[in-house]
Subunit: 380 residues, 2 copies
C-alpha cells in the first residue's frame, strides 16, 4: 500500500508558562519513520475525555482564552488560577502533546511480519499524543478493530470501556458483588449500565438531575438515584440494600457524596444486623474516587463504622496490577463489542485547529453530561 | 489455693435510654462458676482507654451528669446529644458491662490442667466487662504476666501495646518502611516511640502543642512536628522525606490533618521525581484513621495525586487478619516487655463507685494527653 503521509504533520501542544498561563498551539512536526516493529497511523478520530482536559488546559479558566497568530495556526493563551500553579511545576515550559486515545488507519509499517500485517487496517490506540495527524507506535500496541468498524466508532476503545470493565473487575477481585456509580449519566456511566446489564451485575446509578433518571432508565438501569431530590438518601439506602453494593466508583470527588454513599452502605448493612456493635458493621465498604468533576474539598462525617476506605483509582495502575494477559483479554472484549456494549456517541467533530477556538474550548471544557467532542486530525 | 470470691460481685453498667440519656450504675451480679476450661479472675486493675469511653458514655455530655441513689450505689445520668441517638438504636435499653481490658489474680479454676495451672497467677485479659470485681474467662485467653509483675503494671497489655505493634506490623505487611503517627504524645504514642526506636523503624510524630515536642524528644523521638506551629507543613514534609514514611495512623479523625499528611507525603515523593506526571506520584500513600479525638467532619483537598487511600483501622479485625499464631506471638512479646517497651503510666487510681463521681467523669472524659485513669475494682 502506498504511503499517503506527508513529511510533516500537525500536532496539538499544551505549554504551561511560568507567568501563570497555558498556551495551546498546533505545530508542524516531522512524521516519524516506523522501526521494524512499529507502524505509522493516520489518526482520524480522538475523543476529548475528561482525563484529557487536565493535561490540555492545566486547570486554566476557559473564559480567559485569547487567540493570537494566523487563523490556520492559532495560539491560544488562558489564565491558570495561582493556586493551581505549584502542582504544575513539573511541566513548566514543556511543550506537551495531548490526547490519550484515538483510532485511525495504518499507512506505513516496519519490516517485521507483525507490523506488515497491520497495513491498511483500522486500529485503536492508547498512549498520548493522539491529537496529531500521525502517530507512530509498536505493532502489538495496536488494537485491530473488527472489519467494517470506522475510526470514529473505534476512537474510544480504551479510556471509557476499560474503565467500565476495570470497575467490574475490581469489584470481583476485591470481593464485592454490586456497584454504586456517580455522575452515572456520563458516556462512561451509560456504558457501565449496558455492561452491568449484560454481565448481570447489580448497579446503583447516582445522577444529579431528574431528566438523567429517565435517560438511564431508558437504557434499562434498574436503580437510579437523583442526588438533587429531597429523598436522595432514603432512595440511596434502598437501592444499596436491594443490590448489596459495598463498592462505589465516584467521578465527582469533591463535596459530601463519597461519605453519603458510605453512610448509605452502613445503614443498609446494620439495619438487618443483630445486636449492637459499637464499631458498626464489620463489612468493608469502599469508595474509589476516579474523577474530579467537583474540584473542591472532599468532606465526610465518619458515621459508617470503622470498616471503610476512600481512595484514588486509576486505569493504568489497575491494568498493571492485573497483568498483561488479563489486560489484553479486556481489550479484545472491547474490540468485539465496540459497536454495542462499548459504543460511544459524540455531539461534535472538530479539526485540530477548531479545537483551539475559544468558543469550542468553553464548550468542551464544561464536561456537560451527554456531550462529547471528537477531534478528527485528518479534517482540514 | 482457697477461694476468696464472694457469691456476688460489683459490675459497672451503662444503659442508653430512649429519652436520650445514658445511665451509669454499679450493680451486684452473681459470681460466675468457672467451667472445666475456665478461670475466675479477681480484677485488680482496668484502664479507662479512649476506646472504652464510647461504650461507657455513649457520647453523652459529661457536664450534664446528675447523681441519684445511695452513696455506695450511685446512679448517674447524663444527656446524649439528639444527633448521636440514631447510631445508638442497637443498644437502647440494654444494661451493658464495660471495660475492654484489665488484669488480676486467678482465684478459682475449672478442673482442666490448663485452668488449674493458672491458679494464683497474675494474668492480663481482653474482652469487655473488666470494670467488675470478678471476670470469668477461658484459660487460653489469659496472658500470664512475668513473675513479679503487678496487676496495675499488666492492666494495659492489649489495647495500646497491640495497637502499637499492629501499626508496625501493618506497615511491614503493606510494603511501607516508616510511619507517621498523630496525637503522638498519648500513652499509645509514647509507647510507639519506644517500640520504633527498639525496632529501628522511622517514625514521624505529630503533636498539637510545643511542650509535647519536648516530651517525645525526651523519650528519644527524632522527628516531632507540632501542628500548632506556623511552619508545620514544611516540618512535616522534611520529616516525611527523611524517613520515607508513606503510611500514617491518625487518632484525630476530624479536620484537615489526614489530608495534610497525604499532601506532605506527595510533596516529599514528587520533589525528587524526574519529569511531569499529571496523576502525581505512583507510590501508594495511606492514612488509617483509628480514633476520633476530633469528632467533626474529615476534610481534604485532593492535592496528592491518585495513589492514595484513607480508611478505618481497628485492632480486632487486624488481629483476625494476621491469624491466631501471629497474634499470639505479638501478645507474648507484650508480656515479656510489659515493664519496659510497653509500660503504661496512670495519673489516678479509682474504685468502681468513684468511676461514677461526676467530677471524675468530667476529668477522664477529657482524654487529656498524658492523663490516664486506672479503675481498681478491688478497691472499696
Amino acid at each position: 500500500m502506498a504511503t499517503t503521509a506527508t513529511d510533516t504533520g500537525l500536532q496539538l501542544r499544551s505549554t504551561v508558562k511560568s507567568e501563570g498561563v497555558v498556551e495551546l498551539s498546533v505545530v508542524n512536526v516531522p512524521t516519524p519513520r516506523p522501526r521494524s516493529d512499529e507502524v505509522l497511523v493516520r489518526v482520524e478520530a480522538a475523543p476529548i475525555n475528561p482525563s484529557d482536559l487536565g493535561l490540555l488546559l492545566a486547570g486554566a479558566d476557559p473564559t480567559t482564552a485569547e487567540v493570537s497568530g494566523p487563523a490556520d495556526r492559532p495560539i491560544v493563551t488562558a489564565t491558570i488560577p495561582p493556586a493551581a500553579m505549584p502542582a504544575l511545576a513539573g511541566r513548566l515550559g514543556q511543550s506537551l502533546p495531548v490526547g490519550n486515545e484515538g483510532a485511525g488507519v495504518v499507512i506505513r509499517a516496519g519490516d517485521s511480519p507483525a507490523a506488515q500485517a497491520l497495513l491498511g487496517k483500522t486500529v485503536a490506540m492508547l498512549g498520548g499524543a493522539m491529537y496529531a495527524q500521525y502517530r507512530c507506535l509498536k505493532a502489538p500496541d495496536c488494537l485491530v478493530l473488527p472489519p467494517g468498524t470506522t475510526a470514529a466508532e473505534g476512537a474510544s476503545c480504551f479510556v471509557n470501556p476499560l474503565t467500565a470493565l476495570g470497575m467490574v473487575e475490581t469489584m470481583r477481585r476485591e470481593g464485592h458483588t454490586a456497584l454504586v456509580h456517580t455522575a452515572a449519566a456520563s458516556n462512561l456511566g451509560q456504558m457501565l449500565v449496558k455492561l452491568c446489564r449484560k454481565d448481570d451485575v447489580g448497579l446503583v446509578n447516582v445522577v444529579r438531575r431528574p431528566e438523567q433518571v429517565e435517560l438511564l432508565q431508558g437504557l434499562g438501569a434498574r436503580h437510579v438515584c437523583d442526588s438533587s431530590a429531597p429523598r436522595f438518601m432514603a432512595d440511596l439506602v434502598e437501592a444499596v440494600a436491594a443490590t448489596g453494593a459495598t463498592l462505589a466508583f465516584d467521578a465527582i470527588g469533591g463535596g459530601r457524596l463519597a461519605g453519603q454513599i458510605l453512610t448509605a452502605m452502613e445503614t443498609a448493612l446494620t439495619r438487618t444486623a443483630e445486636g449492637y456493635s459499637r464499631y458498626g458493621s464489620t463489612t468493608h465498604k469502599q469508595v474509589y474516587i476516579y474523577g474530579g468533576l467537583d474540584r473542591g474539598p472532599t468532606e465526610f462525617s465518619r458515621t459508617f463504622g470503622m470498616a471503610w476506605g476512600i481512595g484514588g483509582w486509576l486505569l493504568t495502575p489497575f491494568l498493571q496490577t492485573i497483568g498483561a494477559d488479563a489486560a489484553q483479554a479486556l481489550k479484545e472484549r472491547v474490540a468485539a463489542e465496540i459497536t454495542t456494549t462499548f459504543a460511544s456517541t459524540y455531539t461534535k467533530e472538530i479539526s485540530l485547529v477548531e479545537a483551539l477556538d475559544p468558543e469550542e474550548i468553553a464548550d468542551y471544557a464544561k464536561l456537560a453530561t451527554g456531550e462529547k467532542y471528537l477531534i478528527n486530525p485528518d479534517k482540514t
